[in-house]
């Protein structure tokens, strides 16, 4: 399960600088490489690459998407059971379980603690066991 970089890569280093898993290495103006053991298929490299040099784990070329169009997770509080699967899997660690509202509160849910860090990868939504997370 890993993305790959094709020979369209110009070595601009943008992907390597932004990869949350630090899975991409390479020198300026040379083709970069993704470490298949580190890549979690978040797709950020693909959404950033201006040269269309990234293919996803199914071999499809990834398209560039401007940052303001990245989707963010919305969590349905009625379905969320605070099981923490999304928190554990988020590559940017921008999700967290909410604090109790009062002493003895047991109605915690997951929430997007740091929306500015979110890269809209959708791993949280894909892993949620009850599909309580949708991307909007």
């Amino acid at each position: 399960m890993s993305y790959r970089i094709t020979d369209k890569c110009r070595g601009c280093t943008l992907c390597a600088k932004n990869c949350p898993m630090k899975a991409i290495t390479g020198t300026v103006k040379e083709r970069h490489v993704i470490d298949p053991d580190r890549c979690v298929s978040c797709g950020l490299c693909g959404r950033l690459c201006a040269f269309g040099a990234i293919v996803d784990d199914r071999g499809m070329a990834a398209a560039k998407v401007p940052k303001d169009q990245w989707k963010k997770p919305r969590i349905d509080p009625a379905l969320c059971a605070a099981c923490s699967v999304c928190v554990e899997n988020c590559p940017r660690e921008c999700l967290a379980i909410s604090d109790p509202k009062y002493h003895g509160d047991i109605t915690m849910i997951a929430l997007l603690r740091a929306p500015e860090d979110c890269i809209g990868c959708g791993i949280c939504a894909a892993r949620c066991p009850v599909e309580a997370i949708s991307l909007v």
């Binding site: 399960m1 890993s2 949350p20 898993m21 630090k22 899975a23 298949p36 053991d37 580190r38 890549c39 979690v40 298929s41 379905l79 059971a81 605070a82 099981c83 923490s84 699967v85 554990e88 899997n89 590559p91 940017r92 660690e93 604090d99 109790p100 003895g104 047991i106 915690m108 892993r127 949620c128 066991p129 009850v130 599909e131």
Partner: protein
Amino acid sequence: MSSKYGGYMGKVVQVDLATGEVSPYPWSDRERELYIGGKIMAAKILSDHLTGKEKPFSDQNLLVIATGPLTGTGAPSSSRFNISTLSPQTGLLASSNCGGNFGYYLKKAGYDALILRGQAREHTWLEIRNDKFIFHNADGLWGKKASETQAALSQLLTQDGAPDKSGKLCIGPAGENRVLYASIISNERISGRTGMGAIMGWMNLKAVTVTGNHVVRPYDPEGMLKWNRKWFHYLRTHPLTGEQLPRIGTAGLVSQMQMRKILATENFKHGQNESFEKVNGERLAEEFNVVNKGCLTCPIRCARTVALDGQEVKGPELETLGLLGGGIRNDNMELLLRWNYELDELGMDSISAAGTLAWAMEANEKGVWNCGLNFGDVGGISRLWEDIAHRRGIGDELANGSKRLSEKYGGKEFAIQSKGLELSAYEPRHAVGMGLGYAVSNRGGCHLNGGYLVILEGLGLNIDSQTPKAKADLTVMFQNLMEMISASGQCLFTSYAFFPGFLMSRPNAWYTQAVNKVLPHAGAAVRLLNRFPQLVHMHLSPVFHHTRGFQYATGMPMTFGKYMSIGNRGYTLERSVNCRFGVSAKDDTLPKRLTDELERPDEPRSRVPLDKMKPVYYAARGWDSNGIPTRSTLRRLKLKGGG
């Protein structure tokens, strides 16, 4: 070697620490059908290796860390993984279950199980990253406590700036020094019982980290999602799993146990503790609990966190609260919270540590062993834990547990252990079915491996707790079910919901009372079900979601009957391995205190009538009168040649 079934990663790997050799372990779909995963799978692997002559601390022993097929599929409370080995504490095959994140990440790395063997030449920590196995020197970690070790590992793994996405296992100083009840720690969750940590210590293995980027795929993702929604909802609205456990945790049972006279007090001299209100779950929830937490994937969230020295740490479970509270005549909650944390940090099982301490206190009181420890004298216990973990002074002796101490000094009748493993906080003389469970359990004095009949005998339902009637048959049924739930990778607490909510929330309603009255007379019917589980050729979905969940996750056809029979296979397989090590009826015992002394002199039934229940239990299991599984039983369970 991939599997046709969903949920599995299809690979099992073995690592020889002595040679550094990493090789695949053959494991077929046929074996997946028969042994599922987790503790049953581990029992099969160990069964194929152990002849009955091996010693726990030797090259011939294996440490098998196995996940279940549901681990990582999104099924509720499915982060559990199981560690099985030849236990240094019991000398027998034993298993220990843990809710940390190691199992979840082991599957992400692409493995269903990891088999460790051999002694590394130097202190080692093993890093697994998908199919890369890297052995690191662990001199810098050796001697560190659990959270310190895991923080150091985290730092080592994130040097390049990537977030720490790894599952970890480690031991504390107790494991390094081979305290016989040393635990293995994963996050804040503990694989506590039967001394697994000592085996890792012998292996010179301080820690294992695992990380990977595989995805666990259920067989029917659509069906799994729909079913999960129902299942999560059911658990979150059930009075036990949606209310009691999240609100007051397992600690909430202390008050119920007091009421039912099953709260072990002063080394099991009594079943009630007059100052229980100072060390119960309600007080913990009101005064000390910061927030409830859960293992990864769990909607129940029964874990406690408490404030200690300005940081939030894990709070105690019921067993620790009972045994380190009334069990040693301590009513200081602050101290208890501290000890619980210290025991986790040092890497020792709090149940066995408390049981051994209580024995020592009574031995001192009776003049059997003048060790200077007294009931209620709670100063200096923190230092004692350190001494045990580092095997210093009397700590060196206490590190061997109550069985070995009582063999050395005398006082076996009040060494509250079975097969070398100290009992949990449930005093069995007013819950005799639990007493039977403690005695016959494969891993020794454990309430969970023993069948947890206290759930019927006062903690959920309220059947006659002192009649031996039907207890043997019910024990078999519960042991089988719990064996299979563990093997599939789920937490046993999901089975609490097996009891319909209306029975739990209305204990005095006519229908609840009727169930309480009828159950002790239902032995024959339960036995029929145990013997011919295929009669229940269906799902019991309204209350028991596991079978359908299992089917969606794996694609293996499953019914309630089949589920029970696989549990039976696992339990009997473990027993037959133990029989190779000489286990028979003579080992299925309890200390005389519980079988011969009356808990209340005016109540002639207040003891465990073990002699009455054991033969019925063996017959119900299809074992001979000496407790050995018969050939026909092994054949019926498709264990031919496994015995």
